[in-house]
């Protein structure tokens, strides 16, 4: 493993980008900056091809920054970065009102989902600043960081960066129980907001945008 900026990337490995809407490509994250640039180029090129130019990720240096941000937030051994228009489902019975503090950027640390959603609506924050870690369940992608997906959804936005991660037993265990509310299956398009993990009174239900 080596350091690239502040992102830790596996050296010398082919890293598969998840297939979304028919995109199938790969990024070689290897030894030189040129290769990294090529990887970013491939991401952008793939999106252009797939969505007829309706690309969310910008080109060049911004895409490189996206690679770095996504790699920072993803789990070890991680894989990749992607901008998709396909939905990512919620994978947790509930979500707390506030983001945690540890390891979060200032624009998220300790803030409420509602405040972050308001900033997304007003343009103070952009969807690219809330990358989503997701893992595969059958043909679906399921979010591992529920609060970020909830904030995006409350603002009527979909993720623009998805880091595909390997599932863990902890994430798997989230599917072992019944939903807090009846119409929020796991994985699913809705998640109830509760005050704390010890108080499951449902404050509201956040839905994925259509």
């Amino acid at each position: 493993m080596r350091e690239f900026g502040s992102a830790y990337l596996q050296a010398g490995e082919y890293v598969p980008i998840p297939v979304v809407a028919g995109i199938a490509t790969a990024v070689r994250v290897a030894t030189g900056d040129e290769t990294i640039k090529q990887a970013a180029f491939n991401i952008v090129a793939g999106k252009v091809a797939a969505f007829g130019g309706k690309v969310v990720i910008a080109t060049g240096a911004k895409a490189l920054g996206t690679v770095a941000a996504a790699s920072r937030s993803a789990a070890a051994g991680v894989v990749t970065v992607e901008s998709v228009e396909a939905g990512v489902l919620f994978g947790q019975r509930r979500v707390g009102q506030n983001f945690g503090v540890e390891g979060r950027p200032d624009y998220l640390a300790g803030r409420s989902i509602t405040d972050v959603a308001n900033d997304l609506r007003s343009g103070v924050l952009r969807a690219v600043q809330l990358p989503i870690d997701a893992f595969r369940v059958g043909n679906n992608l399921v979010s591992a960081n529920t609060r970020s997906l909830a904030a995006l959804s409350e603002a009527g936005l979909s993720p623009t960066i998805i880091n595909e991660i390997q599932p863990t037993t902890t994430l798997l265990q989230r599917f072992s129980e019944r939903p807090v509310i009846a119409n929020a299956p796991l994985p699913g398009p809705r998640v109830p907001v509760t005050p704390t993990q010890r108080n499951l009174n449902v404050l509201r239900v956040i839905k994925l945008p259509r």
Partner: protein, 190 residues
């Protein structure tokens, strides 16, 4: 030299520590030794799987202090009291990341039927867990394990003693406990 990971042995119980709201509390003796632990457990066998339609919400209240319940009572979520015999030491640790509570790669999970195994997909692991539950009545991943080959026991110089290392895995935290033995009893609905 190959370094063996400590092995997690799941407790043979019909419940699992509730994954999203376990409400774990550790109680100690006057001497500061671990005495018992209470938490909300999920009893899959009580889960009717009947989802009412509509948008009605389900209110779940704080369960409060443990009260002994009858095994004949039903309830998908109930408080469980884990009594520790010969409790020696305990520590509370916070989840290592958003994606895992304990460092999963540090343990050998092969004895846990509901855990992800190398080569598993999420769906295949869920299917195996379901089959295990149907066949045995035990939880495939109870969130309560004994750690065989525990480095913590070695660190404490207790690896030869008649003591065991147990782990209770919650949502944002987990508890390491050293004790001789344990038993559980069921309490009120949560």
């Amino acid at each position: 030299m190959e370094c063996k990971s400590p092995v997690l042995i799941p407790a043979k119980v019909p419940w699992s520590v509730a994954s999203s709201a376990p409400h774990i509390n550790l109680y100690q003796t006057e001497e500061g030794k671990p005495d018992y632990v209470t938490f909300i457990a999920y009893f899959k066998i009580e889960d009717s799987q009947q989802s009412p339609v509509g948008t009605a919400v389900q209110f779940v209240k704080n369960p409060g202090e443990f009260r002994l319940g009858s095994p004949d009572d039903d309830g998908t979520y109930r408080l469980v009291c884990l009594t520790l015999h010969g409790g020696y030491s305990a520590r509370k640790c916070f989840a290592v990341s958003d994606h895992e509570v304990i460092t999963e790669a540090s343990f050998d999970w092969r004895a846990v039927p509901g855990a992800l195994q190398p080569g598993d997909s999420v769906l295949s692991a869920l299917s195996r867990a379901e089959e295990f539950f149907i066949e045995t009545g035990f939880s495939a991943n109870p969130g309560f394990y004994e750690v065989l080959g525990s480095p913590w026991l070695v660190e404490l110089g207790l690896d030869d003693a008649n003591l065991h290392h147990y782990i209770i895995v919650g949502h944002d935290e987990y508890f390491d406990i050293v004790a001789q033995d344990w038993h559980w009893k069921v309490g009120q609905k949560a």
